[in-house]
């Protein structure tokens, strides 16, 4: 069955006003229902990429289209989970109100809104925390709220910008499994950016490996693992280990840039 192409990125490039070229040339697509992870060295413009796709930033070259429509400003049906949950969740609103806020401008009825909020809070395991303020919760719980907020919105495309970089390893494992679970439950198409190679392979159907900046795609790797995955057994699986080291080798050869350093030639 031919899957619909949801996200189409062609020759995307971005050069900052300072002259620094964050993104060299990126061409890739994401199909409906896929979970694609993007992994690369630090400073390779992964966040810039997501912001361009989300329409939060205008890229200096190339095109992005979501569901066939070119992206100029933020497209409809797009939700984003940011790395810094404490700055993305609104501290003056309780958890319930935070999750509900984007829905208030979607022309749904009160009942439908309530249903969606309850459903997504339950899906992330936070139905008991609906009346708390975000800052009363732990980091992992706050990121769950952010995920619930994105899910309740029922986006066509869910973007995740290093969502688990700011939580501890154990919480990260729980959240990774959460993402895989809700992905099937909500039939979400997810593009996830991470610097964690294990995470990239564990979560995805396909892994895109980026070079250092100006970034381009070094490899597109299909993840040949079963749909049901487990933190312990999957990570010990031969296929996983192979994929993982292949990605690691590609990335290790890349320069890690910070700021405007010139990347060294490979």
């Amino acid at each position: 069955m031919e899957r619909k192409r949801l996200l189409d990125v062609r020759q995307l490039s971005h050069r900052y006003a300072t002259g620094h070229e964050a993104i060299g040339e990126l061409t890739f697509g994401v199909d409906d229902g896929e979970l694609v992870s993007i992994v690369g060295p630090s400073g390779c413009g992964k966040t810039t990429l997501l912001k361009s796709i989300a329409g939060l930033q205008k890229n200096t070259g190339g095109t992005v289209s979501v569901d066939g429509e070119p992206v100029n400003d933020v497209p409809k049906g797009l939700a984003m989970v940011f790395q810094d949950y404490s700055r993305s969740l609104l501290p003056w609103l309780r958890v319930y109100a935070n999750v509900e806020l984007p829905l208030r401008y979607q022309a749904l009825g009160t009942e439908e809104r309530h249903r969606r909020v309850a459903q997504s809070l339950e899906a992330v395991g936070l139905d008991a925390a609906a009346h708390a303020y975000p800052w009363q919760l732990s980091g992992g719980m706050q990121q769950r709220v952010a995920i619930a907020r994105a899910l309740a919105y029922q986006p066509r495309l869910l973007l995740m910008d290093e969502p688990f970089a700011s939580v501890d390893a154990q919480t990260r494992a729980d959240l990774e499994d959460l993402v895989r679970r809700v992905r099937y439950q909500f039939n979400a198409t997810i593009l996830l950016v991470t610097h964690d190679i294990d995470e990239a392979v564990y979560l995805a159907d396909r892994v895109l490996v980026l070079s250092g900046s100006p970034s381009r795609i070094l490899a597109e790797i299909a993840v040949d693992l079963p749909q049901t995955r487990d933190q312990i057994t999957t990570r010990a699986d031969d296929v996983f280990v192979q994929l993982r080291s292949r990605v690691a080798q590609l990335i290790r050869r890349q320069p890690h840039t910070e700021g405007n350093l010139e990347p060294t030639p490979i």
């Binding site: 939060l56 797009l78 940011f82 501290p91 003056w92 984007p102 401008y105 303020y133 800052w135 009363q136």
Partner: protein
């Protein structure tokens, strides 16, 4: 999940409350006692004792009939109109300052255009403007309200601009990514985020408003707290003068306390957020 408070036994709690009360008010009470002793000793008409001032104040303001809550006519003639002007002027300043502040904070162009004019206007001291305001706006209540509003808009305006500019870009990106309409972006993201600064500005404005209220009543007025104070001075009713000052002090104290309550409710989340962050 939430913060736990260990409740101490009732006796210890009462002891702690007495101790806290003593710490906060002992100096004040001590000063009043010293003042009473000093003025009783000096026997000068310029310095009535606190007891005399208090007795006279009750005479002036609390000797009315029971239906008026024992408030005398003087309260209805002077005190309430003054407070009314004060609160009206201040409210206008807060509303106007917030609206203009949001516009200027969001638009760099508007800010660059308006800022020089506003910097000039805000440097004009309110009391010095009274003569001009009389020419422009007459000698009635409107003039005083406009004067108070004009003089007190600046802290709110400047703080609002500051607060709006300092809103976390991640919060704005979040609102944009969910395609919140501009009205919602402002009402539900920018304003709440800037609220701590706006409230701080409003608090400063409140103190300024009291000053301007009194000063505006020094010239060409027929009622008001300021008018009565000036009158008392000119007719050498010195105890009345002191009573007026006492009233102003009480007014300032009560308004600030009231404002403090409102601030606590409005900014509950802000305190909670920063207490957590400081751990």
């Amino acid at each position: 999940m939430a913060v736990d408070i260990d409740r101490p036994p009732p006796l210890a709690l009462a002891g702690r409350m007495v101790q806290s009360f003593a710490m906060r008010y002992s100096i004040g009470i001590g000063l009043i006692v010293a003042w009473q002793i000093a003025t009783a000793h000096i026997h000068s008409i310029f310095f009535p004792t606190p007891v005399e001032i208090l007795k006279h104040a009750i005479d002036l303001w609390l000797s009315g009939p029971a239906e008026h809550l024992f408030l005398s006519d003087a309260v209805f003639k002077d005190v309430l109109p003054s407070i009314g002007r004060l609160l009206t002027g201040w409210s206008l300043a807060v509303v106007f300052g917030t609206v203009l502040g949001v516009l200027m904070g969001r638009s760099r162009q508007l800010f660059d255009f308006a800022d020089p004019i506003l910097q000039f206007l805000r440097s004009l001291p309110g009391p010095a403007l009274v003569p001009i305001f009389i020419i422009l706006f007459g000698t009635e209540t409107e003039m005083r309200i406009i004067l108070i509003a004009f003089g007190t808009v600046w802290p709110v305006l400047l703080n609002t601009i500051d607060g709006v500019r300092a809103v976390d870009p991640v919060q704005i990106d979040t609102a944009r990514s969910f395609r919140l309409p501009t009205s919602a972006l402002i009402a539900r993201t920018i304003l709440p985020a800037a609220m701590p600064k706006i409230v701080a500005g409003a608090k400063i404005s409140l103190s300024l408003a009291i000053i301007l209220m009194v000063v505006s009543e020094f010239v060409a007025s027929t009622n008001g707290i300021g008018y009565e104070i000036l009158n008392a001075q000119m007719t050498l009713l010195l105890t009345d003068l002191w009573c007026g000052i006492l009233l102003l002090a009480l007014l300032g104290f009560c308004l600030n306390a009231l404002f403090g309550f409102i601030e606590e409710r409005l900014l509950y989340w802000h305190r909670g957020l920063h207490q957590r962050a400081d751990r």
